[in-house]
């Protein structure tokens, strides 16, 4: 049990260093404060222990002291807030370019789909030095995608919305993946690993996998088979919006609001089409809940996304970064 003993986790992502620096700063602050309080307690305990010839001196308090020891911690903690908020903003803002993986959590496993369609369970191969964006969703309860070596963690919610997290691995290796949100009986076995490879090795690994169906092609086939095409085709236009050139851009809703046309919005529109209706259309579309699997939804999203790429329209990113709420 001692051979693997360590007190500090490996750091293998671009954000890990920043978080560790904040951690060490806070350890410094805590050590300093605890040492200060402890010295005062020990010093006073010895110096002012009861003696028959000395009475306790009654002191009411001191306004200047109260101000000092309120203001110093306050200033320090507001500074820490600023520091951590800046870092959080960095971690929370998803880069606009990256490899998008779909990750589905269910009791008690992780299902992973690569951008090129390959699928894995509980293991996730990624190239080093590339931005990897994860679109996370759960089939049942809340899970949480946690890779300690990357210092990232994000709840994975059931429903129509993806949560998003990203990382860029900096070191080749195999790293633990844990479910961090309690999700039932085998919560502690909902674990896996992230395998970081050199880009060339990753490509070789991909080539060695059973060729996954290209998600865009598969999505195109589904788009026809599920008859999406009858309402959403560029030509027909009247019953449902034309989907080309829409992905990644704001789209207006029938209630006057605007929403970013992203992965979550496509997923929601397939599962609960009436919740946020595109402006100018009737609520005619039926729900596809139960008729499409998560994999198929991912393929449909890939196809709809490709419509944006094929169009000349400027390509938008996942600008709000975070969690797709």
């Amino acid at each position: 049990m001692f051979e693997d003993f360590t007190l500090f986790p490996e750091a293998a992502s671009t954000v890990a260093g920043g978080i560790d620096r904040l951690y060490f700063f806070l350890i410094g602050m805590t050590t300093f404060a605890v040492a200060g309080i402890l010295s005062a307690l020990i010093l006073f305990s010895i110096r002012y222990r009861r003696r028959p010839d000395r009475a306790a001196q009654q002191i009411d308090g001191s306004v200047p002291l109260e101000i000092i020891w309120s203001a110093i911690p306050l200033a320090l903690w507001v500074f820490i807030f600023g520091w951590s908020a800046k870092l959080y903003l960095e971690i929370h803002t998803t880069p606009s370019e990256g490899m998008t993986y779909f990750v589905t959590g269910k009791q008690w496993m992780w299902k992973i789909q690569h951008p090129t369609g390959q699928r894995e369970i509980n293991t996730m191969h990624v190239p080093r030095g590339e931005v990897v964006i994860l679109k996370l969703v759960s089939e049942d309860v809340i899970h949480d995608f946690f890779v300690p070596a990357f210092r990232i963690k994000q709840d994975v919610l059931p429903g129509t919305q993806y949560t998003t997290i990203w990382f860029e691995a900096t070191k080749v290796g195999t790293y633990d993946l844990f479910c961090a949100e309690y999700c039932g009986t085998k919560h502690s076995e909902m674990i896996g690993s992230v395998v970081v490879m050199d880009p060339a090795d990753y490509q070789a690994w991909l080539d060695g996998q059973p060729a996954g169906q290209d998600p865009v092609d598969a999505g195109r086939v589904l788009f026809e088979n599920l008859r999406c095409v009858t309402c959403h085709d560029a030509g027909s236009g009247q019953r449902g919006p034309d989907l080309s050139g829409r992905f990644g851009r704001p789209t207006s809703l029938s209630d006057g609001r605007t929403v970013l046309f992203d992965e979550s919005y496509v997923r929601e529109s397939i599962l609960e089409p009436k919740r946020r209706l595109s402006a100018g259309y009737q609520p005619l579309m039926p729900t596809y809940t139960g008729q499409v699997t998560d994999t198929q939804i991912n393929q449909l999203i890939a196809y709809v996304k490709s419509l944006a790429n094929s169009d000349v329209a400027p390509k938008g990113g996942d600008a709000d970064g975070g969690n797709g709420q």
């Binding site: 001692f2 006073f44 309860v141 946690f146 429903g159």
Partner: protein
């Protein structure tokens, strides 16, 4: 206190313990002191049950494999540990036992404002406890004490409704106690006892009562909604039914963060009493310490979102909650500084209660400052839902609250029963608890940063060394807790008899007999001085 001398009456007079015999005289009592003892017995029972679960958890975690229990069982163990410790021990602990007993005595009243309501609150508490115990014997519940939906509302196959019902019922006892304390503090103070003369223990319990009355209904509603979704399949939290799982977390933490202050504020009140008595000084910065309790009670309602930085909550909400969480730490820091400053130029002795007070200051400081780690959003991403969080809240709840509870119990024991416990054994227990506690929970900070998630039945082998240390600490801690139960009970019959004021402490509660008469004060005293008037006593001593 001026009325002190007049309170002495013949020693033959019956006290609250001898005022009636038999089960009826206890179960139908409306005497706040007897009700406090009813609570003391039931709370100790639940603490022991919760503690037993903790022992089993630590035993299982001695090895990385799940070799002692099935996963189902392990999950039920940590759930029941949390439920019993939070809802049936920590939340009621100091208010229900020491508050019930001493709040009226400290303000010169013959009872609380609504004595029958007070008895009712114990029955409600006991009923809730029995329902939850029944849920445990029927097979237990495995949702974690946090009952996160949709796991609790749809997926869990255990006795969720029954356990939740127990918590729902017990909540009303909190509300009743809160209402009673607020009314008592407003209406029953002795003549001359102005707000700024109140002992800080009264201030702390008053602030706590405000949170109890305002916060508890929210957890009741939340539990009710889980039950409605579970029984009637109305979509509230489960997206499959059209609900929103984040809504549950907002509602749950809207109560459960303030509940942290329900659990710690009364302990801070006890701290002020002990520190003043054993340094022979008025508390440094009395007004600031009193007002910081109110500040904590109010600000405590505005920070619940710090439990949700990785939940998918909006980033901007996260910023607000993070900043407010930094602010709420300030009044706690002020208290720590003021207790420490109170020792300056004091005349300090180190009886058992003072040992617990010193332990509290050290451990609460660590518990509070590691809270800053968790309020710092970027760092929380990494340590959220790991053992770092477990260590943090045990430093606050056990290192803070349980230390204060034990300190208070030792401090007030001679007043409650007229006899003193064995001081040597008590010191041994205090030191054991301090060492055992640190050995149990300090390694968990390291485990958390290493990335060990909480609520893991089986874990990675890399984490074993620290887990073994933690379990070793837990065994010392367990023995430390068992010791007071033994020598305190022993002292009831064999302890040395003490006078009215064995600590030579200031405060109305020390002017009456030990144990107190049935109606506390023969004559309602008139108060002419500030709290903690130790100056005269010190002048007389030297």
């Amino acid at each position: 206190m001026t009325a002190a001398s007049k309170q002495h009456a013949s020693t033959k007079e019956s006290n609250y313990l001898t005022a009636g015999y038999g089960v009826r005289s206890w179960l139908l009592t409306v005497d706040h002191k007897r009700i406090a003892l009813l609570y003391l017995i039931s709370l100790t029972t639940f603490f022991s049950v919760g503690g037993l679960f903790a022992v089993l958890i630590r035993l299982e975690l001695l090895t990385p494999q799940g070799d002692l229990f099935q996963s189902e069982t392990y999950n039920k163990l940590f759930t029941m540990h949390g439920i019993f410790m939070v809802f049936f021990f920590l939340v009621p602990s100091i208010p229900a036992v020491l508050g019930n007993f001493f709040l009226p005595l400290m303000i010169g009243a013959r009872d609380v404002a609504f004595p029958k309501l007070n008895l009712l609150s114990w029955y409600v508490y006991a009923a809730g406890g029995l329902v939850t115990l029944f849920a445990m014997f029927a097979g237990g519940v495995d949702t974690g004490w946090t009952f996160y939906a949709p796991y609790s509302s749809t997926y869990a196959n255990s006795h969720v409704i029954l356990a939740a019902l127990g918590i729902f019922i017990t909540g009303f006892s909190s509300i009743l106690t809160g209402v009673n304390f607020i009314a008592t503090t407003h209406r029953m103070r002795a003549p001359g006892l102005t707000w700024m003369r109140l002992p800080l223990f009264v201030w702390a319990n008053y602030a706590t009562s405000l949170i109890m009355v305002l916060g508890t209904p929210v957890i009741a509603v939340t539990i009710l909604l889980v039950a409605i979704e579970r029984l009637l399949h109305v979509g509230i939290f489960d997206p499959a039914l059209g609900g929103d799982p984040i809504l549950f977390q907002h509602l749950f933490w809207f109560y459960s963060h303030p509940a942290v202050y329900i659990m710690i504020l009364p302990g801070m009140g006890v701290m002020s009493e002990i520190v003043a008595c054993f340094t022979r000084k008025r508390i440094f910065g009395y007004k600031i310490v009193a007002m910081s309790s109110l500040a904590i009670a109010i600000l405590g309602f505005l920070v619940w979102g710090h439990h949700m930085f990785v939940s998918g909550q909006s980033m901007y909400a996260g910023f607000v909650f993070s900043l407010l969480s930094m602010l709420v730490a300030v009044p706690s820091a002020i208290k720590v500084f003021n207790w420490t400053a109170t020792m300056y130029r004091g005349s300090i002795t180190f009886a058992t209660p003072m040992l617990y007070a010193l332990g509290f200051i050290g451990l609460f400081t660590i518990g509070g400052l590691t809270g800053i780690f968790l309020a710092a959003m970027a760092l929380d991403i990494h340590v959220h839902d790991t053992y770092f969080v477990v260590a943090h809240f045990h430093y606050v709840m056990v290192g803070g609250m349980v230390m204060a509870y034990l300190g208070g119990l030792h401090f007030y024991w001679p007043k409650m029963f007229g006899r003193m416990y064995h001081e040597g054994l008590a010191k041994v227990a205090a030191v054991m608890i301090f060492i055992g506690f640190n050995l149990t929970f300090f390694p968990q900070f390291l485990l958390g940063y290493l990335g060990m998630p909480r609520r893991y039945h089986v874990y990675d082998e890399d984490f074993q060394v620290l887990n073994v240390l933690s379990t070793a600490g837990a065994s010392v801690l367990g023995l430390g807790f068992a010791l007071p139960i033994c020598y305190l009970i022993f002292s009831l019959k064999f302890g040395k008899k003490v006078g009215d004021n064995p600590w030579d402490a200031a405060g109305l509660e020390w002017t009456i007999s030990s144990p107190p008469y049935e109606h506390n004060f023969h004559e309602i005293p008139e108060v002419t001085e500030e709290a903690y008037d130790y100056g005269k006593r010190e002048a007389a001593r030297v």
